[in-house]
Amino acid sequence: MRENILKISGLTKHYGKITAVNALDLEIKKGNVFGLLGPNGSGKSTTLGIILGVTQKSSGEYQWFDQQPIASQRKRIGAILESPTFYPYLSGVQNLKIVCRIKDVPQQRIDEVLKIVGLYERGRSPFKTYSLGMKQRLAIASALLSDPEVLILDEPTNGLDPQGIAEIRQLILEIAAGGKTIILASHLLDEVQKVCTHFAVLKNGKKIFTGSVAESLSGNDGVEISSFNIEQLEELAKAYKGVKQIKKNNLNRLEVQFDDQVNILEFHQYLIEKGIVLNHLAYINKSLEKQFLELLSA
């Protein structure tokens, strides 16, 4: 049994008549890269706000490192919530000096973390002159400052360009490889699928699913096929016993889903016997996105 990093039980938050978080239970173990998913307004950020001490809970409990929450625990946590927040008139380095003081970290760490996020050259410029990507990277540098056991990232790639997204993703993977626990709130499912080991889905403040990413992605979601005679292929596929659903996609290929007992070899044999030769056949990998949308619409 691995040790608990975070344990949430029955956590609830009301804003007037609205219940933003509703009796939430969650357990995050050491070394997990945990994705917190949910549409906008599902309570992800409120939950993170509560466990980080800036939002008052209405009821329920949470524990960090199996202890009742106190401020000094947060020195062992690196967190960025929503947009990067710094003193705009100070430089990146000056801002990090304040964080060093708060977290009781020696100032030598500043240059190290700035190098990790690739901001070393611009560390002395005022924060207000930074681009969004640089601000986001400074936020990550700040979160890494105390070499924290847990990293909490809320929409870390928000507003970044594709290159920036790839860099941040690579950074998260490197940090996770070092055995750190990461909590990643995002509505970019592709991102969660690429970096997370576990995930939970929130909807209207309630947890509707939790599990491991690997299990959720095992198996496949049918096949993608095409042929020179796509119309005939479609008719033949429709006539085949055990085919659940056929859809033509943007590449002019057919996405075919089967019942569980269908053997793909027999299906292929059937097509060849009917005079159709495939020029494309590929399994469709399961995606978190699809499952997520199914969960939400249920």
Partner: protein
């Protein structure tokens, strides 16, 4: 405590608005403290007389008068310090840095104390400047130096210190409530210069020296050091710090501190 002071200093020292306000404040303070003799001799040259007395022989800077005179004059500048406090507190909300400070591991109590340490430092520096200025001016202008005269009335410096920390905590309370520097500055001035004086005038009109008047916060801090200047035209003044005023001001300080704590610790920090 030392750590909290360092954090506040890191936040302020490279902030242009703070530097400008602080420099302006000290220039005005030193000007006010040092120029009275000049004004008095100018008045004499213009032929002004106070009930037959030449203005230039008024012992403005003499021990022990100097302490009450200087602290009274300096108390007018407390609004400048209040603006610095308001900007420092509201900035934390408009930049959302209070949120990040707490996420980074500061407790709401520490945040409150970091601002208190800042307020204490301002007030302490102010008190030291007044002490040095009073000593220098007193030594230059007094006819004789006698230790017991030097220390007489020095409690006005402590009263001034209490006046500042109470007033600045009131400014902090308004900042926490309004979260925007412009609103907070206007609200503080509007209350201190219009709302409370109007209420006081109304109560005075209802009955002379209504007991409620001493309880108003601005009145309470202003009452610590009473206007001393009528003594030079042979009128009686209160040349001591009244225990009642001390208690009321301390009460307001405690009340402001309590509400400041509630607003930081018990409210969602958006």
């Amino acid at each position: 405590m030392w750590k909290l002071l360092q954090i506040e200093w890191l936040k302020l020292k490279n902030y242009k608005t703070f530097n400008r306000l602080a420099i302006l404040y000290f220039i005005l303070l030193l000007l006010i403290l040092s120029s009275v003799k000049l004004i008095l001799s100018w008045m004499e040259n213009s032929g002004v007389e106070f009930q037959g007395i030449s203005p230039n022989i008024i012992p403005f800077y003499d021990f022990p008068d100097v302490w009450q005179n200087l602290t009274y004059l300096a108390s007018y500048l407390k609004f400048f310090l209040a603006f610095i406090v308001i900007i420092s507190v509201t900035n934390e909300y408009s930049f959302r840095t209070i949120r990040q400070n707490i996420i980074d591991g500061m407790s709401p109590q520490s945040f409150l104390w970091s601002k208190q340490v800042m307020i204490f430092t301002f007030s302490l520096v102010n008190m030291l400047v007044l002490f040095v200025a009073g000593t220098i001016m007193g030594l230059i202008h007094s006819y004789t130096f006698e230790p017991h005269l030097f220390f007489t009335g020095i409690e006005f410096l402590l009263a001034h210190f209490l006046e500042l920390i109470t007033f600045l905590n009131l400014a902090m309370l308004i900042s926490l409530l309004l979260k925007k520097s412009g609103f907070a500055i206007i609200a503080l001035c509007f209350y201190a210069l219009f709302v409370e004086p109007s209420l006081v005038a109304y109560l005075n009109y209802k009955s002379d020296d209504h007991w409620l008047i001493t309880l108003f916060p601005i009145n309470a801090v202003n009452n610590l050091v009473k206007v001393p200047f009528q003594r030079y035209v042979f009128m009686e003044i209160q040349n001591y710090v009244a225990i009642g005023s001390l208690i009321i001001a301390l009460g307001w300080y405690g009340l402001c501190l309590f509400f400041n704590y509630l607003l930081i610790a018990k409210r969602d920090i958006a």
